[in-house]
């Protein structure tokens, strides 16, 4: 049965249009744009010593992962300024949500309400990843992979063949591609056992996927960042913290997780094959806050497929009568789908054209920028590094959201100074730190005030201190 586009497209475009009203200001967008601009100029993976973005990691050879995602962002900015970034974000969100709903609806084409309910946790949790950076593109690829894997498993050879192409793009967009390769391999192994007649298709998809993941500027090295982040998540960074189910995103995650358990316990139809997708994604989603949305995305089609059965079973236990055929709808004609897409496209274009056109810089030290000294010597708040790379190019940063160049001594020294740990003053001297730009509540700011160090500027957001 054909899966109608009306509902997925409508919901995707609705949320995409909403995002055009949201502010831009992810702390990482700025350095992604700078690296994207370099990529567009044909220089991918510029060594730190050449780019001069930071003064503490000059031996870093440069990063090539995410180059395509960064280039896409830079293209958007070059085309329409911040409105271009907003439009890209809106397109990505619309695609993400549209694909999630479509994948759920594919399981129950005549029950759009069930599909939307099943997709609701994923839609709600996706709000926390509507950020203007390549990670969002990675989630779109993940949602698309889930769709292709499910389609492939249910008999579509074409879907399986598309997977290597998806991974080729994904591996160049964002490091989350590794999960896609692993999931494809697992589905291929399971499929080869369960469907011997299609074994060759699965083998081709798995091998093609792995090979595609190597077709990046870094080659096999492209696997190092995902593996490192999975096994050594930098917990001090909020998005890499352990998931907390007492927070709002954690509660939304819980809804998806507990609903999955409830359906697995109560549905009459056994669905062991679902474990191949659900189990690895469940584990990954438990490893860090930023991975949480993965589970609701992969669970949405499962909940759509079996949630009704589980609810019927529960209703029977509670002796509640559910009328047969409840919540079913007629399939819309193709022309209705087409009409919806056209109207949605127009609405979307209007929204994007009139959307946010400037970043929200409330949380950044804008007033400090003109007072920064040129050249090395600034110790800046980690979260502001990207913004300073963008807004104060003559002043290289101490550290920024790229993280990997600074792992080890740089971040250790950063923590020692900002946290006023033993030896902090010796480190300032040894590193040659001349200015400190941090939050007023940071221990180093408090201590510098105590010691009477000159304060160049301060606000509720920042304090800029000259080291005497």
């Amino acid at each position: 049965m054909r899966t109608p586009l009306l509902v997925p497209a409508g919901i995707g475009i609705f949320f995409g249009a909403i995002t055009t009203r949201l502010p831009v200001g992810d702390s990482d967008v700025f350095w992604h744009l700078v690296l994207g601009r370099q990529a567009l100029q044909g220089t991918i993976g510029v060594p730190e010593a050449v780019s001069g973005l930071s003064w503490t990691a000059s031996s870093y050879p440069g990063s090539t992962d995410q180059w395509l995602g960064q280039a896409v962002l830079a293209l958007g900015y070059a085309a329409a300024g911040w409105r271009g970034i907003v439009a890209l974000r809106a397109i990505a969100v619309a695609l993400l949500i549209g694909i999630i709903v479509y994948t759920a609806l594919r399981e129950r084409p005549t029950r759009p309400l069930v599909a939307v309910l099943a997709a609701l946790p994923a839609i709600a949790l996706s709000r926390f990843i509507w950020a203007e950076r390549p990670e969002l593109f990675g989630f779109v690829c993940f949602a698309l992979l889930v769709l292709l894997l499910r389609a492939g498993r249910s008999g579509s050879d074409r879907a399986l063949y598309w997977i290597p192409a998806l991974i080729l793009v994904w591996a160049n967009l964002h490091g989350s591609f590794a999960l896609g390769v692993v999931l494809t391999a697992l589905v291929a192994i399971e499929g080869a056992v369960a469907q011997p007649a299609r074994r060759r298709m699965y083998v081709v998809a798995a091998i093609g996927t792995f090979v595609a993941s190597l077709l990046t500027p870094a080659g096999a090295g492209t696997w190092t960042a995902p593996a490192f982040h999975l096994l050594n998540p930098p917990r001090q960074i909020q998005e890499w913290a352990v998931p907390d189910v007492t927070t709002l995103p954690g509660m939304i995650f819980s809804v998806a997780l507990l609903a999955t358990f409830a359906v697995a316990f109560l549905a009459r139809t056994r669905s062991a094959r679902e474990a191949v997708l659900l189990l690895p994604v469940l584990f990954i989603s438990l490893t860090a806050v930023r991975q949480m949305p993965l589970l609701p995305i992969v669970a949405a089609p499962y909940l759509a497929a079996y949630g009704g059965e589980a609810l019927s079973e529960l209703a029977a236990l509670l002796r509640v009568r559910v009328p047969r055929g409840a919540f079913t709808s007629r399939q819309p004609a193709r022309v209705v789908d087409l009409g919806a897409l056209v109207i949605g496209g127009i609405v979307f274009a209007l929204a994007a054209g009139t959307g946010t056109d400037a970043p929200a810089l409330d949380g950044f030290p804008t007033a400090a920028v003109p007072l920064l000294r040129a050249g090395p010597g600034l110790l800046n708040q980690y979260d502001w590094g990207g913004y300073l790379i963008w807004s104060a190019p003559r002043t290289p940063v101490f550290a920024d959201g790229r993280l990997i160049p600074f792992l080890g001594p740089v971040l250790d020294d950063y923590s020692t100074v900002v946290g006023v740990h033993p030896g902090w003053r010796e480190l300032i001297a040894r590193r040659g730190i001349r200015q400190i730009l941090v939050r007023p509540s940071d221990p180093v700011a408090v201590r510098a005030r105590d010691l009477g160090w000159p304060i160049r500027a301060s606000s509720d957001t920042f304090i800029l201190i000259d080291v005497p």
Binding site: T260, F261, F265, A267, F283, H421, P440, P443, V446
Partner: protein
Amino acid sequence: MKSSTLLFPLCTAAGAFALAATVPLGDPDMYWHLASGQWMLDHHEILRFDIFSSTVSGQPYSVGEWLGEVLFALVFNAGGWAGLTLFRALLAAVAGFALARLSRRGGAPIIAALLVVVWAVAFSKTRWIDRPAMFTFVLFPVVLDLLYSARAGSRRALLAIPPLILLWTNLHGGYVVGLALVLAFTVEAAARRQSAFVPLALTLVASVGLSFVDPETFGVAGAAAHALAPPRFISEEAPPDVLEPSGVLFAGFVLATIGLALFRGGELLDALLLIPLLWLALSAQRHLAFFVVAATPFIAAGGARLYVRLRPHGVPMRPLPGVLSVGIAVAFAALALASAIGRPGAPDEHAYPAGAIAALRTGTGTLLNEYDWGGYLIYRVPERKVFVDGRLFPFYPAVLLDYRDAVELRPDWKGVLSKYDVREALLMPAKPLAVALRESGWTVRAEGSNFVLLAKP
């Protein structure tokens, strides 16, 4: 009960005993629980107000664990540190016994049950602590096992539950989870088995009623509030990290449960038990064991069925010959005995500021101490009042906020020190406050690799 059905739980109990007996005491909260219990034994009344701190001195508070504290103090008085170690091992043995019985509730063959029990015990080992919370880790599997017995037809098992809940309520605040277990079985009975519903409902009513027979409980609402807003700065109240060793073991249970549920489905009871306990486990590390214990029968039974499905012609397990059974039982008993004999004789205090005790005894004025050392100081240096300690509730939130502002060198750190007239500070050397005080001319009265005692000049 046949001796063959007792062999496995008894061997598990002996194994758990042997493991627990080898782990030295050293929980930071053990000390203030012991001091509280000792005070109640000395004064023949329940401790309802603060006597240990300088910050909330005389203020009323309750940690809802008076009987647990008294029991720990009694055991200590009778057998010292070695006695406490053996007592904890005994509690672990009871928990192991109940866990082993639970593992076969779904009809799992012994080999499947054994594998899951070993896995669960390996996990539980990280939760064997030297304080009243240990009673919860024992009573949880015991009550769950009784409920399964009742579900299988034993009405006598139900009779034991209300008295156990009464005991649990006075031992530790975790009794609320016990009430939740009874509620889950009652709801299931209401939905599926009308005849079992009435006795279970009566048990639930009696249990809830008896849970109020506690002179100092902080109640179900207090427990719920604690679960919904856990104090994250305490490590056991942090969410579980599935990349840490105990988190990996826990994640294994979660994945096995969902995997087996997808493979063979489940019952309403499984959903009623495991879904809330999974949320609770994810809310804080200290709750992980509840899910692990409750999932044990499901995983053992499901794992066995999966094995049969994957290897339909595999070798079936036969009962062990009698001689071998006796041999195994004797080996486990010998292991437990050897562990009891070789138990550690004193707590492991390497993480505490033992080198500062002499200087603390001669010091004066308000002492600002690390949160984790409060209990240790209450016990080892009773003449000095602590600033904060692991009792948490008396200090929440005002004193804890002040404590954080000072120790983390927030903008008003000097104001906090003068507000409480702090004269000495016992801190980890890396703490920002320790660095700032040294730079501000406070004198070092004692120092070690893990502590520094500073005095106001």
